[in-house]
């Protein structure tokens, strides 16, 4: 039985749809005067963040609290971790405190896999972003947002065309979305300068392009990735932030190339003026704020399905 969420690629189409459906039911809760469910009362969720990410942490925290779980935030900043404590000892500490689920954000790719496989801890591990590897709950919330607008909030994303633009090489959001959206039947196009596409991307279930404009006319949605300014100039991946912005940023002109129904997404935090102009970020096509709302519902669904798996397993024994 699956106990962890480590990679978006772990989910089958049916499992992914089940998470999205569950998130849909939980989202309805947000409109009620009392937002809390008793489902995870007495269970402990630890947010283990080795890397700063306030938005992801508070999203998981809100999700766990709305399910009545006890939440412990363990931040590497100012903790024993910054004094050289190992991942293993941190895990053993959390194990001793009885964590039922550990939501882990780590700067090293694969750290959640180590926690899940090394036998240091019994709880479920949820990958909340690891290095340049994956960020599966971000992909789930993106898929959830896309489904609401492009598929009436049900089923999968069969045949929808999604363009993902930017620093694919270093992006855990891109990896998870490429896997999940194609699992859900979408046609994914990755657009980036050649220096920001990983070696071997041709074996991913996506198409790629170095040229943004031609992909826009057919896109149902365009997802902009955050690009760090340091990747330019000194980093050497592109000559300057200005040149990057000209070739790969989405501005009002490029927004005009999109079909009328097409959406603009961004996982945040945005670099306004680099990968996305203020015009676009604040436009009616932008669902960037809604992504945040949906993030809480999707993370509730993930925690709910993982932690209540004993009583609500799917027909195949999987919690999804």
């Amino acid at each position: 039985m699956r106990r962890h969420l480590l990679s978006a690629g772990d989910l089958s189409r049916d499992e992914a749809v089940r998470v999205l459906d569950t998130a849909g039911e939980l989202l309805a809760l947000a409109d009620r005067p009392i937002k809390k469910l008793p489902t995870l009362r007495g269970r402990t969720v630890v947010n283990l963040f080795f890397e700063d990410s306030t938005r992801t942490r508070i999203s998981f925290e809100a999700a766990a609290k709305r399910l009545s779980a006890d939440v412990i935030n363990f931040s590497a900043k100012g903790s024993s971790v910054s004094k050289g404590e190992s991942l293993k000892d941190t895990a053993l500490t959390l194990q001793a405190m009885g964590a039922d689920a550990v939501v882990v954000r780590h700067q090293s790719s694969g750290a959640p896999h180590r926690l899940a496989a090394a036998g240091w801890i019994d709880g479920s591990i949820v990958n909340a972003g690891d290095g340049t590897h994956e960020h599966p709950t971000q992909a789930l919330l993106d898929a959830f947002t896309l489904r609401r607008h492009l598929a009436d909030g049900t089923g999968d994303l069969e045949g929808r065309r999604i363009t993902i633009v930017g620093d694919v090489l270093h992006s855990r959001v891109a990896r998870s979305n490429a896997l999940l959206l194609s699992t859900l039947g979408a046609e994914v196009t990755l657009v980036a300068p050649p220096t920001l596409l990983p070696v071997g991307v041709d074996s991913w279930p996506v198409t790629t392009s170095y040229d943004l404009d031609p992909t826009l006319a057919k896109a149902d949605a365009v997802m902009m990735l955050r690009v760090q300014r340091e990747r330019g100039a000194g980093g050497g991946f592109f000559p300057s932030a200005r040149e990057y912005s000209r070739r790969y940023g989405v501005d009002a002109r490029r927004m005009g190339l999109l079909p009328d129904h097409a959406l603009v997404l961004h996982p945040g935090p945005m670099n306004r003026g680099v990968e996305i102009s203020a015009d676009v970020a604040d436009s009616t096509r932008s669902v960037i704020v809604e992504q945040v709302t949906n993030g809480v519902a999707v993370r509730m669904a993930v925690l709910f399905l993982l932690l209540s798996a004993e009583t609500t397993t799917g027909t195949d024994g999987s919690p999804w």
Partner: protein, 445 residues
């Protein structure tokens, strides 16, 4: 020392004979030998090979005695069938002076499990800036002939040229860790489809191959000897084959792990499989085996790299590079080369003893199993398979990538100048030799 009679061993896998060892040499070979008072080692069915010589061992002493010491590392070597190891220079302090290489050499002699030939650093502090006192190390009691900044690449072309030129004065060789540093910043694993998927920074084949090509050209230009450490890619094999075809004095080694394991193991994110150069693809493994079989690659060298548990029991990026190798090398080579029919036992003896000894200019090792030759030999039971047990290592460390894997063959006994260092697979307590191993001094031409 009393005589030692090895009964019924099969030299290089040939028909069984008896070998009589006396005063550190093989004095008689034949059927039905007897010798009054000789200690008898029954070797019925065991393959006899000349004692193995490792060109690439990290003994970690001085500096990281928590990972390995000269005594424990050489004990592991003897258990693996080695009678000589070359101790890499990346210790703390670095082996870049006559003082440090003599210290390591002396510790090896005192431990007595196998001969220790220190490798000298090419550059002061491995910093890649100016030559270390190569001549002083060559002239020291340790008689250093192999120089390497291993762990780091001598990436500066002029420094590499000067090093290659300079060691001609004492028939030295530069052993290059071929890794273009700018192409491998923060590199974690083989660059390919998997590194992209796992989000681990890639270590591209070209970063190794470009340096090897440059160094072959430099060695040819200055007429010196180049040895390429731990070759890991098909492209590298091709470049070395080309250089040899040109008649240039280029030699190369491959590690056991690169002959057996592939980069797919990184998918577990278990740092036991993190090594430099990284595990590569299946086609690379095939090319390395082929290169070793046809002699393009001269030697198997372990790159035995012990690390304490905490440096491997962590997330991938935080973990140290390196794997144990001494105790499993021969079994891995049997699996990769003998069981596949690519080499016979004579070929294994050539690649693990004869040629490495010649590259390191070690005169009394890597010799034929003939009358009058030094009695350095290993007895191997090639039958049976057993799972590798990390909790059974003689090395202080446990970071073997072969844990749980079943491998063929077993070292039953190792003889160093006629004295058993290993019997029945167990280490024999070394006799104190008061500093110098018998016959070690003046052994070189």
């Amino acid at each position: 020392m009393s005589d030692l009679l090895v009964r019924g061993a099969r030299p290089l896998g040939a028909d069984p004979v008896d070998l009589l060892l006396r005063d550190g040499r093989i004095v008689e070979i034949g059927a039905g030998l007897t010798s009054r008072g000789a200690r008898v080692v029954e070797a019925d069915g065991l393959v006899a090979l000349p004692g193995l010589v490792d060109l690439h061992t990290h003994l970690r002493e001085p500096g990281r005695e928590d990972a390995e010491t000269v005594a424990t590392g050489t004990g592991a070597a003897a258990a693996g069938g080695f009678t000589a190891v070359h101790a890499m220079a990346n210790t703390d302090p670095v082996a870049d002076t006559a003082g440090v290489v003599e210290q390591v050499w002396r510790l090896g002699a005192e431990a007595g499990h196998c001969d220790v030939h220190p490798v000298g650093a090419v550059s002061v502090g491995l910093a890649g800036e100016r030559l270390a006192e190569l001549g002083a190390m060559a002239d020291s009691a340790a008689r250093v002939r192999i120089f390497s900044d291993d762990g780091r690449c001598v990436s500066d072309a002029m420094l590499m040229r000067r090093a290659l030129e300079y060691v001609k004065a004492f028939d030295g060789v530069i052993a290059q860790h071929a890794q273009e540093p700018r192409l491998t910043v923060d590199a974690q694993m083989n660059e390919g489809e998997l590194s992209g998927r796992l989000g681990l920074a890639g270590w591209p084949a070209v970063a190794e191959e470009a340096v090897i090509a440059r160094d072959c050209l430099l060695a040819a230009h200055v007429g010196s000897r180049l040895h390429v450490c731990h070759v890991s890619t098909a492209g590298s094999v091709e470049i070395i084959r080309w250089a040899k075809h040109k008649g240039w004095a280029v030699t190369a080694e491959v590690t056991p792990h690169h002959l057996l394991l592939t980069d797919g193991l990184a998918e577990s994110y278990d740092p036991l499989f993190k090594v430099n150069p990284p595990l590569r693809g299946k086609s690379d493994v095939e090319a390395l085996r082929e290169g070793l079989a046809d002699g393009t690659i001269d030697a198997v060298a372990t790159d035995h790299a012990p690390h304490p548990v905490e440096d491997k029991e962590c997330e991938w990026a935080a973990a140290a590079f390196g794997m144990l190798g001494l105790e499993t090398a021969l079994s891995v080579v049997q699996e990769a080369m003998i069981e596949t029919g690519l080499l016979d036992w004579a070929g294994v003896a050539d690649r693990m003893s004869t040629r490495p000894a010649r590259i390191g200019r070690v005169a009394d090792q890597g010799r034929p199993l003939s009358v009058g030759e030094p009695a350095n030999l290993v007895l191997v039971d090639p039958s049976g398979r057993r799972a590798v047990r990390p909790d059974r290592t003689l090395s202080l460390s446990r970071n073997t990538p072969f844990a749980g894997i079943e491998l063929p063959g077993r070292v039953v006994a190792t003889m160093l100048r006629g004295r058993p260092t290993v019997l029945d697979g167990a280490l024999v307590a070394a006799e104190p030799v008061g500093g110098l191993p018998v016959g070690a001094s003046g052994a070189r031409p």
